[in-house]
Symmetry: C2
Subunit: 282 residues, 2 copies
């Protein structure tokens, strides 16, 4: 496995691979790699001739007062995980390499980004879209792999790729969960044992919402209340939102019909965790 820290080396390696006829898969990450990431790498390795993983804690996608400085970083552990995952290139740029001067260019996606995560994190998705546009320009034509855990991000990324005709195929991969249902996430590292035990409430709340829809509930307010009630049973968990929306547009649906997505966010000590599940209301 090759490790690069510069844009030029990365581009040269992947342009060379494509020139030799190889297809390229990209797994863009913030590092602190876990089973969710390795599932993306495994899928990329199955689909593509050459797999690149980027590890970059992108300051643009952290808001004021968020955990940019504290975000878990362990380059050696990440390199070890990547080296065991059939990856050909690990790209670990510094902030100075990615943003040698203050970035004046911003890529934003309207509509999809104001509600849900966007309510709490108003500049988050512009930071994500901007760094992805840059990563895609560095990596070149590829398939890019994203986890469904970040469902709203996935919708934004798909729209970004389509609107600007990036030569990138966005591939969504299922959320990977711990045995007790907690979605794998780098920020789970923030949880102390009591919070870790309490964290299962997020997935349990979503499953309760799904059960309500499957039992015939078509009032979104009732489904939201069902999810909120489950979160309310856990004293350590603070509900940010629990919503049910159209799975593709993320718009409200009332009465509930079609492909739906239930999404929720809770605070648990220092951590803010998100999760989502799908359900069909026909």
């Amino acid at each position: 496995m090759r490790t690069t820290t510069t844009i030029a080396e990365t581009r040269a390696f992947l342009d060379g691979a494509r020139a030799g006829g190889a297809t390229v898969g990209l797994v863009p990450t913030l590092g602190s790699l876990h089973g969710g990431h390795t599932s993306l790498m495994a899928r990329a390795a199955a689909d593509c001739d050459v797999v690149a993983v980027s590890v970059f804690v992108n300051p643009l996608q952290f808001g004021v007062g968020e955990d940019f400085a504290a975000y878990p970083r362990d380059v050696d552990a990440d390199a070890e995980v990547v080296s065991r995952s059939g990856v050909d290139l690990l790209f670990v740029p510094s902030v100075e390499e990615m943003y040698p001067e203050p970035v004046r260019t911003t890529v934003s996606v309207s509509g999809l980004t104001t509600r849900l995560e966007g309510s709490s994190r108003p500049s988050h998705f512009a930071g994500v879209a901007t760094v992805l546009a840059k990563l895609w320009n560095i990596v070149g034509p590829c398939r890019a792999y994203f986890g469904e855990k970040d469902w709203q991000q996935l919708a934004v990324v798909r729209r970004l790729a389509a609107d600007l005709s990036f030569p990138v195929e966005v591939v969504a991969c299922p959320t990977v969960r711990e045995p007790d249902g907690l979605a794998m996430a780098s920020r789970n590292a923030y949880l102390d044992p009591a919070e870790r035990a309490a964290a299962t409430v997020l997935h349990r709340a979503l499953l309760a919402g799904v059960a309500a829809v499957e039992a015939g509930e078509r009032d979104p307010a009732q489904v939201r209340a069902t999810m909120a009630a489950v979160v309310g049973t856990e004293p350590l968990a603070e509900l940010d939102y629990a919503e049910v929306v159209d799975a593709t547009t993320l718009d409200p649906v009332d009465p509930l019909t079609g492909e739906l997505r239930l999404l929720a966010a809770v605070g648990l000590g220092r951590a803010r965790l998100i999760d989502n599940v799908g359900v069909l209301a026909d």
Copy 2:
């Protein structure tokens, strides 16, 4: 010469050319091609193995009340010009091909885009940056040719390419002028004979500003006043702005020093014309 109307054909043609080892030059235009455009095509043909010209009147870069509907369009005349200019590919997409659904993704460049043209046209440069990001993604790695007549656009385009690491080399080409000094521009077609005669005031004002700097004037207000006074001699011309700024950052400079750019915009009947010239103050 090949003419394409779809993104897929265009990408296939140019990917094929690059796969065969060819370098690609791109001249992005709004059509209504004139001597300024043909100078870009000639430069691209001299530099690159394959030259692509895009003709697309991009609605995103026209503001409310601007001349999107009236903007001169003549596809046959443009095709004739292009076919005589050593061009290999003419890409003429429809609005529906470029924007099959309402565009939610916007690329914006801060700082450079609020003053000068940005004051009169607040959404203009975001429209330019968004369509260029899309065109570059369609065309792929290339040299892209822009005229210095749109100096502020050139600064925005360079920043866009650098910030997002597009695999694009931005090449600036000198403004092409009519024998009486008027910069060639598609909107010159709006001028009636009296306005056409009056239009030379724009370049004359800029040259008066340059002469003032070369004579030792270092007060930007005096240089602005010199340029405004020249425009004021022409009853048909309405001054929008006449400024002197740092040539690279477009920031104000006081006292004047270094590489400067003098930029002005005037209204003349239906037309709004812009021009600029450079001068060194050492």
